[in-house]
Symmetry: C2
Subunit: 114 residues, 2 copies
Amino acid sequence: MQTVVSDCPIEDVMRVLSGRWPALLLYYLKEGTRRFSDLQRDNPTLSHRILSLELRKLEQAGLVARTAFPGYPLRVEYDLTPAGAQLVPLIDGLADWWEASASLRARHATTAEV
Amino acid sequence: MQTVVSDCPIEDVMRVLSGRWPALLLYYLKEGTRRFSDLQRDNPTLSHRILSLELRKLEQAGLVARTAFPGYPLRVEYDLTPAGAQLVPLIDGLADWWEASASLRARHATTAEV
DNA sequence: AGTAAATTACGGACATTTTTGTAACCAGGA
DNA sequence: TCCTGGTTACAAAAATGTCCGTAATTTACT
């Protein structure tokens, strides 16, 4: 997913949102500021290395802001940027569509055919 | 991206939309009925094997309908299902958000910092 | 006082799994 | 023979994970 094959902006969007974690992380962050370890505890199946990589990706995309505090045990906080906050309702929309269209999808799904 | 780690429907949504092709294919299909070979020509960098797999994924998810006609040179048509058609505007929303938030994202992006 | 251990947020090397792609093959007509 | 819409076997690449190390400081123990 590195080369661009169309000029649609949707391709850039999916480059950032693709994968299991980005949308989920945005969901956790929409609740407010979270520390690295909070996010780690929130989803135990996500290794800290991947968490780190995903956060960096979201940061570079400008959706998440990282704030590091100097001090004893390190402390780093993550928040949504304004752009990230704007995105959240759109993702909510997708989730709502998924639930609302469940019967519609089931009717047309391959596996549902008799 | 096969195991479920949360109970959020967004995870199911991303399982279907993740990757470079799903959103793009929906975009082509929103213009109307497309044949396999049409979609192949529309994006030349997509191998016909992957096209086949992606279409099958979208079909199983109930977003795309496949219609095979009997006959000489095979003919198979793909269309959006009602659920798929409902999804398109949401994807458009993401694309719009991406363009509208460009400056906002740039301001917060890691690489933009001085 | 000295030493060991814990905490937090990573980074690097490496292994494994998943995804994506390539090449070749099939059917059944025109 | 070519066309269409696939499939299968195999190869490459990308995503994801495990394990270990590091920094600086507090706490725990003796």
